[in-house]
Amino acid sequence: MSTGIPGWVPVEHRWFGLDRRMLRPALFVLVVALLLIYGWPALNAIVPWNNPTRAGDVLDLGAGATAVPPVGWQLEDGTLVSDRTGVSPTQESVKLAKGGATIQMTGASFNGTAAQFLDQVITSQDPQADISGSPATFTTTSGLVGVVRSASGTGGDELLAAFKMSLSTPATAPALLVNVSAVPGEFQQVSSEVETFLRSITPEAAA
């Protein structure tokens, strides 16, 4: 039968006021937790990306919609048509990175025009964001009409483009947001690749 006052630590088990008998489980938890919290990120930092886009690659944006990525960028998220895995146009996300520039594409369900969708995106993300450029129309090679806005600041440059992914029924079609961001001085280096990429976006009807 156990005896003694609960919480009373015998002097021979004390270490700086702590119960030395409980050090082992406490340290075990702390070490394993820190390994999970910082060990995986440390390993992640030393494993390099090695998934460059190649000539002929086509991104699958779901429901037959596609885009042609610029060659030599790292495909960090997204599905190629050749993967044949099936993509939902309202849940698809793509991330391409090169140097200090990234292109992110996000599919969403939205009823309304491309301009309304872009307004909703800006409102939901940061209503106070310094989106200085006025909305401009952007037409892809396939005839898809989107809205583009840009912003510049000390942190770099950003471009937001919104499309409704149908030529015939754009109001009810899935929406696509393209977000290009670049560190200062980098945007000019990749602007022609970004423009070609945006022009390659093709909705289902034209596929």
Binding site: V29, N44, A108
Partner: protein
């Protein structure tokens, strides 16, 4: 006093000592390093939680987060009632279970699993490519990070309440509460994430969708995985005499991780069939998870049931508790069902089992001594038996 009675009394005292039943749980233990690790974990998790939800609560996604909290707060109630019923035999105190729940909801999610999953998913994306990671990444990251992060909570609770956390069934119950905390926290996070995916359009509908989807899937989710995993941890540690079963413990831990993997990667496992991709999680994985849970619960409860029999043995000898009632209070579901048939009155059978449980609890709390509360509990059993 006969020799048999003395033997039964000694066995009773031994059962009280081994099970730790009746010991009080005190959370505030500044001399215990495990207490400080718990405080660090929950504190860091709370900061992570505020960072994650803070901007949403003050901005566009306020409705998604608040509705997620309200919906899953209500969803929690039947779960707590269900788990309270499972907390039988040498039942754990509410304070200990609440401590486990908070670890699961705050520390395991926002301190450990969130940053660990983010990094590990990116590692898998680098190794398998985006399409491979989309198919397999979640199942190769979550069972490692999440089962371990929840299991660490059990280790801390053992150090905080070494007398109370003894058997595999203790691990089973505490694991279920840690897992439930994790599950509800993750559900609220999903409600928020789903609203961000539609850029804030239809937030209430989005939260209701997540409630329906994850509420149903939650039947065989974190609470179940952690109950199995933590029972396995207790078998590996073998804290009750005769309960060290390393092979069984490893198997239970791996089973929990496999079920978690299969649930997350069902689209990869059943990708060759559209029908199975859609329905196998519900038609195959859910029944499999429940079978594993029931087997683990049955195996885990054997020690506790033995303790309960030893604890009440002197009461059986003195005629306060009869054999069928002992079998019911220390038995499985089928024993309680058998007892109900024997008594021919469902309500009376339930009252008798509960009163015998009360008597056992009072005996344990008094350390096997005769007290006014023990005498009262005994009188209640006799009153209900009509003796």
């Amino acid at each position: 006093m006969t020799i048999t009675t003395s033997t039964a009394k000694n066995a009773q005292l031994e059962a009280i000592d081994e099970s730790g039943w009746g010991a009080r749980f005190r959370f505030f233990q500044p001399h215990n390093p495990a207490f400080w690790v718990y405080v660090i974990g929950v504190g860091a998790g709370a900061i992570g939680m505020i960072k994650y939800f803070g901007p949403a609560l003050g901005g566009t996604y306020r409705l998604a987060v608040t509705s997620g909290i309200v919906f899953f707060g209500i969803y929690l109630i039947p779960w707590l009632l269900f788990l309270r019923r499972q907390n039988r035999y040498t039942a754990q105190p509410g304070g200990l279970l609440a401590t486990g729940f908070i670890w699961g909801a705050v520390a395991a999610t926002f301190w450990i699993a969130l940053p660990a999953n983010t990094a590990l998913l990116e590692i898998w994306t680098k190794l398998l490519g985006p399409a491979g990671a989309e198919t397999w990444g979640a199942g190769l990251a979550a069972p490692i990070d999440e089962e371990w992060s929840k299991g660490l909570g059990l280790i801390l609770l053992i150090a905080l309440a070494p007398r109370l956390v003894r058997s595999a069934y203790d691990g089973f119950i505490i694991g279920a509460f840690i897992g439930l905390g994790f599950q509800v926290s993750e559900d609220i996070l999903y409600a928020y994430n789903n609203a961000t995916a539609s850029f804030g359009v239809g937030q209430l509908e989005s939260s209701l969708f997540i409630l329906a989807l994850r509420g149903f899937a939650g039947i065989t989710s974190h609470a179940l995985f952690s109950a199995i995993f933590c029972a396995g941890v207790m078998w590996i540690l073998g804290r009750a005499p005769g309960e060290r079963r390393i092979g069984r413990g490893l198997l239970a831990c791996l089973a929990a991780m496999f079920l978690h993997f299969a649930w997350d990667d069902a689209s990869g496992l059943f990708g060759w069939s559209t029908f199975l991709t859609l329905f196998a999680p519900y038609l195959l994985l859910m029944p499999l998870a429940i079978v594993v849970l029931l087997v683990v619960r049955r195996l885990a409860s054997s020690k506790e049931r033995a303790w309960m029999r030893e604890l009440l043995a002197p009461e059986v000898e003195s005629g306060v508790v009869d054999q069928p009632l002992l079998d019911a209070v220390s038995g499985l579901h089928k024993d309680r069902r058998h007892f109900r048939k024997l008594v021919h009155d469902r309500r009376r059978a339930r009252h008798l089992v509960e009163s015998a449980g009360d008597l056992a609890q009072e005996i344990a709390a008094s350390g096997g001594q005769e007290t006014a509360r023990v005498a009262h509990a005994r009188a209640e059993v006799l009153r209900l038996r009509g003796a």
